[in-house]
């Protein structure tokens, strides 16, 4: 029986793929013709049509929408059920046997290289598939409500299902090549969904930016994969990790090679998970629909880099330099983007910078060898950040598309469910004891201080970022839900709580945001860290190093650090309360007092502008040179030159054809003489 359920593991990615196939059929053959016909009719229609369009109530919904609305979430839900059963079956095994590889078919075979299409279920990938399908399902359900006024409804669900499929490939694949396929698949879906409203230039540009920036990271990943095959002769996880001790002992796998591989992998992770210096695409990605931001740009895709680093933890542990780089980049990103989050006024952008910052925490955890803590934070972050995004989506939905927090306020009476759930998520991300974010964030901070790879400086930066996080999150809540209404009177009239399809996922996620951390309560608080125990087989190599450092750390110190981080978070909340509730005029005064600093932070440290001048312009100018000087002159010159040469030669050669029969006869004769000459030559 146990084996039987695991044998259906392939259904986990296959079900979303089924959704892709059916939905794309609907999108192509039912929805597209309808929309094209509508567009063709529009110019001749009465101008009054625009009013009815906004709320879509004027004409009946086409019948296929209902099918899409059921099928899109249902396939992901079914996938979640299969995942849950498979994980339970895996959990029934003894800890050291919790590794199941299902080979579907040989996929790439070339010489000594072979990569089967195979799925690997182990404690790490089981956490990932539960998060992807579970949170993914809730977001799919939410999308049905959120996207109900959209014309291209089926197209949206095609992309969303395709994303789920690719993400499951990424986390379930049993080799680096399959992970790369998923990696690129989620990148493509991210591009498609950011640019979902492609008629809007900023959305299309943001999609392109995300795609191009990710290419930089993908290059690193590819080269790392080549190096892995070159070193280990395989790209299969089980084979690569099993060969590490032998190759390290025989001197083939030197620290240098391990450092090169891990740093290149980290370049890939930096791109996908939006870390310094490649984080710039994520804030722009907020151009996409809000559920997309929740699913792709908060809960799942952007955490793929963390998953990859955790997956290759055995390699990272061989390369202390890489570990240090990961930790420093993570910590730097955490505090850097948190400071930007303070000044942003767009509700989704605050959350975007918050996501970048929280991803920094995850990398900080991986960098100090606390992979368990990183994955733990990945999971809890998926809950509370998806909830925050969906909540902000509910607010935006209620305000008919308004995203500027300066035009919100006092919404807690209008949107009670959204307010309560978002408030819970805010408490969770701020690290208030008892909620999920507290346990995961605190474990990261504790490990960054106590682990053998840790450092007090890293802890300090992490704690400071935690305080800033609490501040900007409560700033968001106060600006949005409290105080006086700053809404447009026209908008205010239509404010409404979202439908059940949107609020129910919010409530479920709120429960998870509270309780999600209870699987990993640290020992000093009298709990039992089930999460660490569950992941222990995957991170067996790392456990030794981390435990080594912890030996000299006392429980008293852990209490002290915990109290410090909670105290810092409370200070952040208190400051936000003072500045945005007690003295609402104060923030403006402070900003006016340091206009230079405020301007720099408001404009995101001008990083986009610096990149634009230092890199983008240079590449564009170089491309223009290549186009005008190299391509148009040199390449085209060669091509046209060859053509001209042939033409000239042909022009000369055609004179041979005189049209006079005698000439032809003469050449016939000459030919005959030459032939005979050859034949009778001695």
């Amino acid at each position: 029986m146990v084996g039987e359920i695991l044998d259906y593991l392939w259904l986990v990615p296959a079900l979303p793929l089924l959704g892709v196939i059916v939905n794309s059929g609907i999108a192509l053959f039912a929805e597209r013709p309808l929309l094209l016909a509508e567009d063709a009719r529009r110019p001749t229609d009465s101008p009054g049509d625009d009013h009815g369009h906004g709320h879509g109530a004027s004409h009946a919904a086409p019948p296929y929408r209902k099918l899409v609305a059921v099928l899109g979430p249902a396939v992901v839900g079914a996938s979640f059920v299969v995942s849950l059963l498979a994980v339970l079956a895996l959990a029934a095994r003894p800890p050291h046997e919790r590794l199941f590889v299902q080979v579907l078919f040989p996929w790439v075979q070339a010489g000594t290289f072979s990569a089967p299409a195979a799925f690997q279920l182990d404690p790490l990938s089981s956490v990932m598939i539960l998060v992807v399908t579970g949170v993914g399902f809730l977001i799919h359900v939410y999308s049905v409500g959120y996207m109900s006024h959209e014309r291209a409804f089926a197209r949206y669900f095609v992309y969303l299902n395709l994303f789920t499929f690719a993400m499951l490939l990424l986390v379930l694949g049993s080799n680096f090549l399959l992970m790369f396929v998923g990696w690129e698949g989620v990148g493509l879906c991210s591009y498609l969904l950011i640019g979902y409203w492609y008629e809007k230039k900023s959305a299309a540009d943001a999609g392109k930016k995300a795609f191009v920036v990710n290419r930089v990271g993908d290059f690193g990943f590819l080269v790392a994969m080549f190096l892995i095959f070159w070193t280990f002769g395989s790209v299969e996880y089980t084979e690569v990790f099993a060969r590490i001790p032998g190759l390290a002992a025989s001197g083939v796998l030197t620290t240098g090679i391990a450092t090169a591989i891990t740093l290149l992998l980290f370049v890939g992770a930096v791109g996908k998970s939006a870390q310094i210096p490649l984080y710039v695409w994520l804030p722009d990605a907020m151009e996409g629909p809000t559920p997309v931001s929740a699913l792709i740009h908060a809960a799942t895709m952007v955490t793929a880099g963390v998953y990859m680093v955790a997956r290759t933890n055995a390699l990272y542990l061989l390369a202390p330099t890489s570990m240090m780089v990961v930790a420093v980049v993570g910590a730097a990103t955490a505090i850097f983007s948190a400071t930007i989050g303070i000044t942003q006024n767009d509700i989704k952008r605050v959350l975007a910078y918050s996501t970048v910052s929280q991803l920094g925490y995850m990398f900080l955890a991986c960098g100090v060898g606390a992979f368990t803590a990183g994955i733990f934070h990945l999971m809890t972050h998926a809950f509370f950040k998806a909830l925050l995004f969906l909540g902000s989506g509910s607010v935006i939905h209620a305000l008919a598309g308004e995203q500027d927090m300066r035009k919100m306020g006092s919404l807690k009476n209008h949107l009670p469910v959204t307010f309560v759930t978002m408030f819970i998520a805010t408490l969770a991300i701020s690290g208030i004891p008892g909620l999920s974010g507290f346990f995961s964030k605190d474990e990261i901070l504790w490990k960054s201080f106590s682990s053998g790879h840790g450092h007090a400086g890293l802890w300090l930066v992490g704690t400071a970022a935690a305080g800033i996080t609490a501040f900007y999150m409560f700033r968001l809540v106060f600006l949005t839900f409290f105080g006086n209404s700053r809404m447009d009177p026209e908008v205010e009239k239509h404010v409404h709580e979202s439908p059940y399809s949107m609020t129910v996922p919010l409530m479920i996620l709120a429960v998870l945001a509270v309780a999600g951390g209870w699987v990993g309560i640290p020992h000093v608080l009298g709990g039992h860290n089930y999460f660490e125990e569950w992941l222990a087989p995957v991170f067996a190599h790392g456990a030794a190093g981390a435990a080594h450092g912890e030996a000299h750390a006392s429980a008293a110190l852990e209490y002290l650090l915990m109290a410090t981080s909670v105290g810092v978070a409370l200070c952040g909340i208190g400051l936000a309360w003072y500045l945005y509730r007690v003295r609402p005029s104060k923030p403006k005064e402070i900003a006016d007092r340091v206009p230079g600093l405020y301007g720099v932070v408001l404009n995101k440290y001008y990083v986009d502008e610096i990149y634009d001048v230092a890199i983008v312009r240079k590449i564009v100018n170089g491309s223009i040179w290549l186009w005008e000087a190299f391509d148009a002159t040199f390449i085209d010159g060669i091509v046209n030159g060859v053509a001209a040469l042939v033409q000239k030669a042909g022009d000369r050669a055609r004179r041979v054809q005189t049209g006079v029969v005698g000439n032809y006869a003469l050449s016939l004769l000459l030919g005959a003489v030459i032939l005979v000459g050859f034949l009778i030559w001695p």
């Binding site: 055609r654 049209g659 006079v660 029969v661 005698g662 004769l669």
Partner: protein, 100 residues
């Protein structure tokens, strides 16, 4: 049996005359006639060698060539008449439209 060398010499001379006629003359009728001379030069060679070797195949080939030559002459003359009606000339240097 007689040596065929004299016949082959005659054949060669006739063939040469034919070639010169085809290449050098402008009148299409003369050209056609020169082609006939070349064909008949070959006939002479066939029959001479056939007779020398006591093989009847040479003679059979000569008949074959005569048949083909007759057909060719008929088609060729018909074309010449058609050309003359159109152009009022049968000078082959004038009939050089089929070129670049």
């Amino acid at each position: 049996m007689m040596e065929p060398s004299a016949y082959l010499l005659l054949s060669g001379i006739l063939f040469g005359i034919g070639v010169v006629g085809v290449v050098a003359r402008k009148n299409a009728l003369i050209v056609l006639m020169s082609v006939e001379i070349m064909l008949n030069a070959v006939n002479v060679a066939f029959i001479a060698v056939g007779s020398y070797l006591g093989d009847v195949t040479g003679s059979i080939f000569a008949f074959m060539v005569m048949t083909v030559a007759a057909a060719e002459a008929a088609v060729g003359l018909a074309i010449l008449i058609a050309i003359f009606r159109l152009k009022e000339t049968i000078d082959i240097t004038e009939l050089s439209v089929l070129k670049w």
